[in-house]
């Protein structure tokens, strides 16, 4: 009985301690909507964000000590990896899907190409524990972290207790990732009235508004929805439905082959494209939408089965517009880079 008594007092005092972590609110770009509420259990704090950033870049989270989140989410290229299906995980086996870019995640409520993860906290366990990604034995990882004195101290600062838990690890990672925002491309400055776009880019914008913006809705340039955009004819049920997209989560047959709409922000940095990275260049993507759509029962109705029929000039205009969505500041923002202490 007394053991429990002391334990509870300890927990209570820990929570009081945690009040020393400094609450911060996210700076929302003026032309962005308010993001949905973050989970109450994981408010943004200065110390939590900083710990999350350190963890993001630390290969200590992987079983072989060689793979960090940043291995496949490189900040120089909008936190993606430049490969179709990465082989950079612990096993060196290729993954079945392309590493997604990471920015403006605070506006997302579901994660992965099929939206299977219901918040950023839960999402992190996917790559952490997948044998072909970081393959972490969480108990062993925490043991390693406990042997580095800086970590218990940093967890204490962020969460009010130096007891490292898997929950605290993923909460810190989620906090850091929620702060990664990209909203300052030439397009954004044009919309705000401070910059001009070329006539080719403006023609591309007009075409974009006619054909693309219902899925790639500004200002996030995604509708956060799931669609079959005509990449495949057949959708194998192998590997726990990984090729069936949203269907494996919703079990709604209308979602077979539907994958989450990626943002078009920073596409200048995020090649290759599509959920499996099958298209090496924007030219290939535009050729595909122009006339290489594959019909299947769940093809998104807004996509003509013969394609949009863009001619070469229109493709050049769309490409020019898409490149105007590059946010150079974002790629260099020191707040997102590896902390010097690592």
């Amino acid at each position: 009985m007394w053991k429990w008594f002391f334990l509870l007092v300890f927990v209570i005092s820990c929570e009081a301690n945690n009040e020393s972590a400094t609450l911060v609110s996210l700076a929302i770009p003026a032309h962005f909507p308010q993001p949905p509420a973050f989970p109450d259990r994981n408010p943004l704090t200065e110390q939590g964000i900083e710990l999350g950033r350190m963890l993001f870049y630390d290969p200590i989270l992987s079983s072989n000590g060689a793979v960090s989140c940043a291995t496949c989410h490189n900040p120089q290229i909008a936190f993606t990896d430049g490969m179709p299906r990465t082989r950079m995980g612990v096993s060196r086996n290729p993954l079945d899907r392309h590493s997604p870019a990471l920015f403006n995640l605070a506006w997302h409520t579901e994660f992965f190409w099929d939206g299977g993860a219901k918040d950023l906290e839960s999402q992190a366990f996917g790559p952490l524990q997948h044998p072909d990604e970081m393959a972490a034995d969480i108990v062993a990882v925490i043991e390693k972290m406990n042997s580095e004195t800086r970590y218990p101290t940093l967890f204490e600062k962020a969460f009010g207790t130096d007891t490292i838990t898997s929950a605290a690890i993923v909460r810190a990672l989620a906090q850091f990732q929620r702060t990664i925002i990209s909203a300052n491309s030439r397009y954004d400055r044009y919309m705000a009235g401070g910059e001009s776009l070329s006539s080719l880019e403006l023609q591309g914008l007009e075409l974009f508004n006619q054909h693309c913006d219902s899925c790639h809705q500004p200002p996030l340039f995604t509708d956060l929805g799931y669609h079959n955009n005509g990449l495949n004819i057949n959708f194998s049920a192998d590997k726990e439905g990984v090729f069936q997209g949203r269907y494996r989560i919703s079990l709604d047959s209308a979602d077979i082959g539907a994958f989450k709409t990626p943002s078009l922000r920073n596409v200048a940095f995020t090649a290759p494209y599509m959920h499996d990275g099958r298209m090496r260049s924007l030219d290939r993507v535009l050729d595909f939408y122009a006339g290489d759509i594959k019909w299947s029962a769940t093809l998104l109705g807004r996509i003509p089965k013969d394609g949009f029929g863009f001619d070469d000039q229109e493709k050049a205009a769309l490409k020019a517009f898409l490149l105007s969505l590059a946010d150079e500041d974002f790629a260099k923002n020191p707040k997102y880079l590896k902390p010097s202490a690592n």
Binding site: M1, L8, D114, A117, S122, G126, Q129, L251
Partner: protein
Amino acid sequence: MKIVFFLLSLVILSSCGGDIDTKPDRADITLQFEHVVGNQPLNFTSEFRTNSNQSFTVEDFRYYLSNLSFENTQTGVKYEIPNSYHLIRENGTGIASLILENMPLADYDQFNFSWGIDAEKNTSLDQTGDLDPSNEMAWNWNTGYKFLLLEGRLTPSNQGLVYHIGSNHNYKNLQVAIPQDAQIDSRTQSTMVFKVDILKAFEGVSTIDIAVNNSVMGGPFADNIAINIAQGFFQLQEIK
């Protein structure tokens, strides 16, 4: 502070209770799970048979029980164990136990428990204790928990048997009656013995051919197994 005060009063209450020669106020109640395959105790070495004579071995078996409570259905008196999420894990001996320490006693006539994790807790993985994903019972690609994991091999083919079962709609509230003569309110230690028969996952409402459906990791087919489990899987044998 209120909590501390409450706890202090509990300490006083329980220490008083021991001195008075009447029924105890509190007791440790052990839930003992006898894992069996038909009429054989489960272990990780023997070969077992389904009722349709398919043979297999078991290498891993675990499941979640949650939201345990004791109730008197006549008076409405009910004790709900707080934060009640319990991973029951077979260790090769055929018996797993869960000790519920210091339960407040009353004239209970029913024990309530659920198979699986309720929808509220089943929507995030940043949790500790038995729900910590380091227990390897989380669905990492589809946030939530496996309510039951059974792995082994078909013999003699050595083909893998993999059953990862459980989604929100499979969550099942279950009740067992506590007979009057069990007298759990008059002892400081009681044991409720449950029989958990793996074969009941493969029969009952739907008969599962384990040679055909040897690998079920979520998806629509998992419902057939979940419905069987919700029916006859957990059987109270005795209270002692």
